[in-house]
């Protein structure tokens, strides 16, 4: 079981780095956009910052695997945090205003992983606490977006259900989904049931897969990869609590 958990943790890290690094390699990043338009920094410099961010995101997970140096996780987490922060500061869409909360599972992940793998009980405890915190925040605020009918979510819903649903039905459906997400997000701070986390992992994986399903592989693959923590973190927590349940049963 521990080995499986380890593989899960590392795979999530790699997918996150490749997904987000690839996005920034192909398209302007929120960091570059913020510096260019809101700080008037020359595009030559902002393009260079984007390239550097992309390299850090793509390479850091592999360098961490090779060297086990924490610095690579810190640099990865820092760039991911800056992306969320600059998305918030640009605020050019309504949902960007809560980017620090919706993207928390991504930028917390490297830091939580660093603590979790520190091989001492305190570290593992704080690592798991951070995982829970970031997962809770991601679910609560995505739930909020769903509840208020985020247009992108409406389009995903309509596309998934094809002719079975009209826009008003999609909005109602998203309200229900939103409430469930918010409840789960709040509960995950307290509960220890692996089944709740299994459901959250399923939902995280499903919503990540919606990206390539909706946008096609060319546009949807990287967004799917960078959402790896949305299912990786709950799956980790599910496996942890499942393992604990098994232990209790045996005892």
């Amino acid at each position: 079981m521990e080995r499986n958990i380890h593989i899960l943790l590392i795979s999530t890290l790699l997918l996150l780095g490749i997904g987000q690094g690839g996005e920034i390699f192909l398209y302007p990043s929120p960091i570059g956009n913020f510096l260019l338009f809101e700080r008037n920094i020359d595009q030559g410099i902002t393009d260079w910052i984007d390239r550097l961010s992309s390299v850090i995101l793509l390479v850091s997970p592999f360098l961490y695997l090779a060297t086990k140096r924490k610095a690579f996780l810190i640099s990865l987490g820092s760039v991911l945090f800056l992306i969320a922060l600059c998305t918030l500061l640009r605020g050019s869409k309504r949902n960007y205003e809560i980017a620090l909360f919706t993207q928390m599972a991504r930028y917390i992940y490297p830091f939580a992983l660093m603590m979790y793998l520190s091989k001492n009980e305190k570290g593992e405890f704080w690592g798991l606490t951070l995982f829970r915190l970031s997962l809770g925040s991601t679910f609560i605020f995505h739930g909020y977006e769903a509840y208020i009918g985020e247009p992108q979510f409406v389009d995903y819903t309509l596309y998934f259900f094809k002719t079975l649903m009209q826009e008003k039905d999609a909005l109602l459906f998203l309200k229900v989904i939103g409430v469930i997400d918010i409840i789960l997000g709040v509960l995950c701070f307290r509960i220890k049931s692996p089944w709740v986390f299994f459901y959250m992992a399923f939902w995280g994986l499903f919503t990540a897969f919606l990206r390539p399903y909706y946008h096609g592989l060319e546009l949807g693959l990287l967004p799917m990869l960078l959402r790896a923590p949305h299912w990786g973190v709950p799956l980790l927590l599910a496996l942890k609590f499942y393992k604990a349940d098994l232990k209790n049963l045996k005892a």
Binding site: Y27, F37, Q43, R94
Partner: protein
């Protein structure tokens, strides 16, 4: 130092002089909006501080009356008198009240002189020309988007310079009727504070003889406060409140779409229904929306998935996009491939004041010759005739000067091309 302060002071005064020339300080942020039928309909709107004026009127006439209120032929008591929909903390203390008159049954291709009144405060007489309703009559429109400023540049805005240039263009060529805006008017679209300056700057488009340039509004992603946007551009009626609607001028149908709401639901159904109805032989169909389907910089928006297949199916003539902050013209595209016969050209992507950037997707197949992409302030001049249309891609050549601020009195025509009716 004193000289410097003096120069700055004078430049600030000259900047505000234009608005004071036409409107008393009590009548603020005047706008003239065109929506669905600009040949017969026009909306006049303005703001006052709080609801202190019980009497708010619009006066209109086909001949100049020089402000003699009793002489105007059309008089309307403003049916819209409400507080602007903004509860944001940043707007505390502003408490603006908006007033609007909607004139219907106007005569097409007619010069209308107008004044507005709040209490005893009356504006000076201005005029505008209604759109034609005679297919033989040619006309011109300016298409452009992203007139927001870069944040630190709010003190050195480029927008006023471009607006002054538009005024010069309208003076020279009275057949230019209106500005079709592609969205992102301001940076902080959530609040009204930033919009104030946009409306003040728009007064710079007034020509020397007092002609006012109407705006056809489209919603961009920065217009995050839907209620406020609808209040500012008087988009309350059912056909306008979701910010997708058709502006019809002669045989031109401008499909103003909204990329800030779901595109695959009701909007898509509406689009298909109306394209089926209006994309017929002899009509011009120009969709206009904010987030690009074929971007020079960013990722494609959902317009690619939901709008583009309909554009292909109904063979629209030309598409205007904004948002990317760079100038682009695509190759003619049909079913995601270059197609010189059935392909549609996408023009964009917003350059009415926002800083421009070098396009990242410059080498994409859809931006290869005869397409292009570059960093340049820009807008498009569409000259519409019954059977042909000419599009000019115009880049204002702006220079920063201390007193005049951005001086954009020169233009460069980057490209021009003609359109003929499609065999639909």
């Amino acid at each position: 130092m004193r000289v410097l302060i003096g120069v700055i002071f004078l430049s600030l005064i000259s900047f505000n002089l234009h608005s004071k020339e036409y409107f008393p300080k009590e009548i603020k942020h005047f706008r003239l909006v065109w929506h669905e039928d600009p040949a017969t309909e026009a909306t006049l709107a303005w703001n006052t501080k709080r609801e202190i004026y019980k009497e708010n009127y619009c006066y209109m006439s086909k001949t100049p009356k020089k402000g003699n209120l009793k002489a105007y032929e059309l008089v309307q008591r403003a049916p819209y008198n409400r507080y602007l929909s903004t509860t944001n903390k940043a707007d505390i203390g502003l408490r603006y009240f908006y007033h609007a008159c909607v004139f219907k049954n106007l005569s097409p291709s007619t010069k209308y002189y107008f004044v507005v009144r709040s209490g005893s405060h009356v504006s000076k007489e201005l005029h505008f020309i209604t759109a034609p309703k005679d297919p033989k009559r040619s006309f011109k429109l300016i298409f452009g988007g992203d007139s927001r400023d870069n944040l630190p540049n709010i003190r050195r805005p480029r927008r006023p310079g471009i607006n002054k240039l538009l005024a010069k263009m309208v003076e020279k060529d009275p057949s230019i009727l209106a500005l079709v805006h592609g969205g992102d008017y301001v940076f902080f679209g959530m609040i009204f504070r930033d919009f104030r300056q946009w409306f003040r700057d728009h007064l710079l488009t007034i020509t020397k003889d007092g002609r006012f340039l109407p705006v056809v509004p489209t919603r961009g992603n920065h217009e995050k406060n839907v209620e406020l946007f609808n209040d500012l551009f008087i988009m309350h009626r059912k056909s306008l409140k979701n910010s997708y609607y058709i502006t019809k001028i002669n045989n031109l149908y401008i499909f103003n779409l909204n990329t800030s709401i779901a595109m695959g639901g009701l909007q898509k159904i509406w689009l298909e229904t109306h394209l089926r109805k209006y994309a017929k032989k002899g009509n011009w169909v120009f969709p206009n929306y904010h987030e690009p389907a074929w971007p020079a910089v960013k990722k494609p928006s959902d317009a690619l998935k939901h709008f583009v297949p309909l554009f292909d199916k109904y063979q629209v003539d030309l598409v205007f996009e904004s948002d990317g902050h760079s100038l682009k013209k695509t190759v003619p595209i049909y079913k995601n491939k270059k197609d010189l016969k059935k392909g549609i050209i996408y023009l964009g992507e917003g350059g009415l004041g926002v800083g421009q950037r070098k396009p990242k997707n410059k080498n994409s197949w859809f931006l290869k010759k005869p397409g292009f992409a570059m960093a340049a302030d820009h807008f498009f001049l569409a000259s519409m005739k019954k059977d042909s249309a000419e599009i000019k891609v115009i880049s204002p050549q702006c220079k920063y000067e201390l007193i005049t601020r951005w001086n954009c009195l020169k233009t460069k025509v980057i490209d021009k091309f003609k359109l003929k009716h499609r065999a639909r």
